[in-house]
Symmetry: C2
Subunit: 165 residues, 2 copies
DNA sequence: CGACAATTGTTATGACATATAACAATCTGC
DNA sequence: GCAGATTGTTATATGTCATAACAATTGTCG
């Protein structure tokens, strides 16, 4: 417990030049930097999409429905890692804004098939362009090579706990 | 309304093999994969630290204080990107658990210097070992090379909006 | 010195995201 | 036809992030 012995002096030293900061073991903790990077990227997302009132999750939902029209609500949610209980309100809002429609599925009256409305399809196409601008800022920040090489490891990390299900 | 014209057929097709799923443009959206990866990594963090009742933010706070004893409360929070309003309750809890102490700073009765208690120092050392196990699982998932190469770009991304302050 | 501005910690509050439990309607398998 | 699974839904709790306002204290400057 060397800390206790020299505690007082070390405190005073640190207070004196509080400007200096040592991340310590933290700068080799992947989760920490993933979190910091994700927050910063989302902040840029919000800034870029400001005039559209679209959050990241909403953009991802619209994109998945666009690429997979008619998927059951639960499947879309699961694909995005969103619990179905939380997914309901999200679809409610997109439907309320006239972007998404819950269509009946012949043969299963429990489920809903999600499809984009005409307006939803138009907006989603526009959002892709906006998203490209956002992505461009990320590339500018880290370089094309690093950008390209990020996807594979992030993908692998995202599948971490997949065995346990 | 081109969507309406072919809408019905496409819906039925998609419903038929709902198992298939196309991420579409989403798999080239860095923010999406950052988020997914971060959530999965945090889930593993929670699993690994289960018996300690320690969240990622708490571990980061303890680590920063350990590496920089005596830093003012606001400085520690800012270093971790935590707004000082939100930081208060976090320190309250760590203090309540006897891990952190708010020490007076001579010459400034507004500020508090944060230091680990003996118990806090002991626990933090133990947490580093646990964190190493956690980190080992991440390395196992993506390989040492990819792991090592992740830090630089994540660091750069985390500094994205830094010019605007 | 004394008014005024800036800093620091704090409280209160709101918007979101995430998680679980319980329920009704519906479907499936036997 | 009945028991159990599936699907969407509601309700609820917790955690994270953000902003505004305030009191105490400190710094600035005429």
């Amino acid at each position: 417990m060397g800390v206790t012995a020299s505690g007082r002096t070390r405190v005073l030293e640190a207070v004196r030049d509080a400007a200096r900061f040592d991340a310590g073991p933290l700068d080799r903790r992947l989760g920490y930097w993933l979190r910091r990077a994700q927050l910063a990227v989302f902040r840029d997302f919000f800034a870029t999409f400001e005039s559209y009132d679209i959050r990241p999750a909403q953009y991802s939902i619209l994109t998945v429905i666009e690429s997979n029209p008619g998927l059951k609500q639960g499947v879309v949610g699961e694909a995005l890692g969103i619990k179905r209980a939380n997914f309901v309100a999200m679809i409610d809002e997109l439907q309320g804004r006239g972007l998404v429609r819950r269509a009946p599925i012949p043969g299963d009256r429990r489920s809903h098939a999600l499809v984009l409305t005409a307006e939803g399809a138009r907006l989603t196409a526009e959002l892709h362009a906006v998203s490209d601008r956002h992505e461009g800022k990320l590339i500018a920040a880290i370089g094309e090579t690093a950008y390209r090489d990020l996807f594979a490891p992030l993908n692998a990390l995202a599948r971490l706990g997949e065995g346990e299900r």
